[in-house]
Symmetry: C2
Subunit: 210 residues, 2 copies
DNA sequence: TTGAGTCATTGACTTCTGGTCAACAATATA
DNA sequence: TATATTGTTGACCAGAAGTCAATGACTCAA
């Protein structure tokens, strides 16, 4: 990587960091592009070298924490799908909590923005989540953990719906309840209920999920 | 009602109708206030006689259909709570479908907008839904259908989370699946699972919810 | 070493739109 | 009929997103 590339990468990083801090603190709508660039120490126009729209920086913010979850799941090979999903739910809400309400609000608002049609089809946060979960289910079917007639697309939608429902509800209620408490008390029951009819594992009764 | 009041009511109605049509067709962000007022046949400034912010018209749109659901539920006195909720979920998604993706998108986006702090505390759509559901649960506890230690606030949050999760997911996937199909295949299982541990009814096993 | 080409950076500028407000006109009231 | 009230109007303002031509630091091949 030459000097030019290093410097460009550094500029991008500064923008993302400045953006995250400002959105966390004041909320997406309350700040403008110039606030971000000022904090990052660059000119306004530079923002548009790295992002097409003001909104695009929000997706960037989710990339790191959610990338980590994906890695963790790959290391869980062999574990029951309910355990993987339980981990996913748990970590998802952990990220939600650490990113804060303002960032999460914007993730969901952005996903619902009809103008948000990135060139890259996977550019939307929820599509990334969707593909990741679908992969887990497909693997479970392929190793015989789930029945062959499991409606993968539908189940994936259901799980995404649970996750975004929790996140949305948490934001709506202004962070009234503890996301992790929520996950513990609720998600596991739901995961159990969603999969009961499709699961094959003999040792299911011994699963950690109750 | 005198002439002035009648005419004002009519102007408001024209604005809501025009707004609904335009949002349905083009989406909230793609239209501006002048588009709405032009279609309604009034001047731009008139909009702000009736609504504080452009966003406020979206809440107005949900008032009629969701008001109807509330009325229906009041007529269901005596029925099991699972049946009431099943009806609620069903009718909720019916409204979601009939209002269309663009309107639903905006409902959720609006609920997540930190600037959306109407004077009237119940001015936010989700708070209306919340109070309505909480009322149903409270009644169920008072008549002994649910145990006294039922965590009403938490369960209400969970149900709201299910509803908004479904709606959000439907919008995200661009209306890919049938909302009512979703309700039938999924919600009933979830309702069942959410309440299982709190329900008292002897005839629960005979409940229509399976 | 050099100089032509590349590309990140800049910030003034354009464009758009949400929201305001003072003047006006239609209606109510005494 | 005169005065008060209140819905209506549209020019205007403010603010912010996004553009673009000029700049100059850096790259690389000769």
């Amino acid at each position: 990587m030459n000097k030019r590339q290093t410097s460009a990468q550094e500029t991008r990083r500064k923008l993302v960091t400045a953006g995250l801090e400002l959105i966390k603190e004041k909320g997406f709508d309350a700040i403008n592009v110039e606030d971000i660039t000022k904090k990052a120490g660059v000119a306004k126009g530079t923002f548009y070298t790295y992002f097409k729209r003001k909104e695009d920086i929000v997706l960037e913010i989710s990339r790191v924490p959610f990338g980590e979850i994906a890695e963790e799941l790959q290391k869980m090979e062999g574990l029951a799908i309910t355990e993987k999903l339980s981990h996913y739910f748990h970590r998802f809400m952990e990220c939600v909590e650490s990113c804060g309400i303002n960032v999460c609000r914007q993730w969901t608002r952005d996903v619902l923005d009809p103008n948000n049609v990135p060139d890259n089809k996977d550019g939307q946060k929820w599509k990334y989540d969707f593909e990741m979960l679908k992969g887990i289910l497909e693997e479970a079917v392929s190793i015989g953990e789930l029945k062959n007639d499991t409606p993968i697309e539908l189940l994936t939608h259901i799980i995404i719906s649970e996750l975004y429902g929790m996140m949305t509800c948490w934001c709506m209620s202004d962070g009234k309840f503890e996301p992790l408490d929520w996950t513990d008390r609720f998600c596991k029951i739901q995961i159990d209920s969603i999969f009961k009819q499709y699961i094959r594992r003999i040792n299911y009764a011994d699963s950690k999920i109750k």
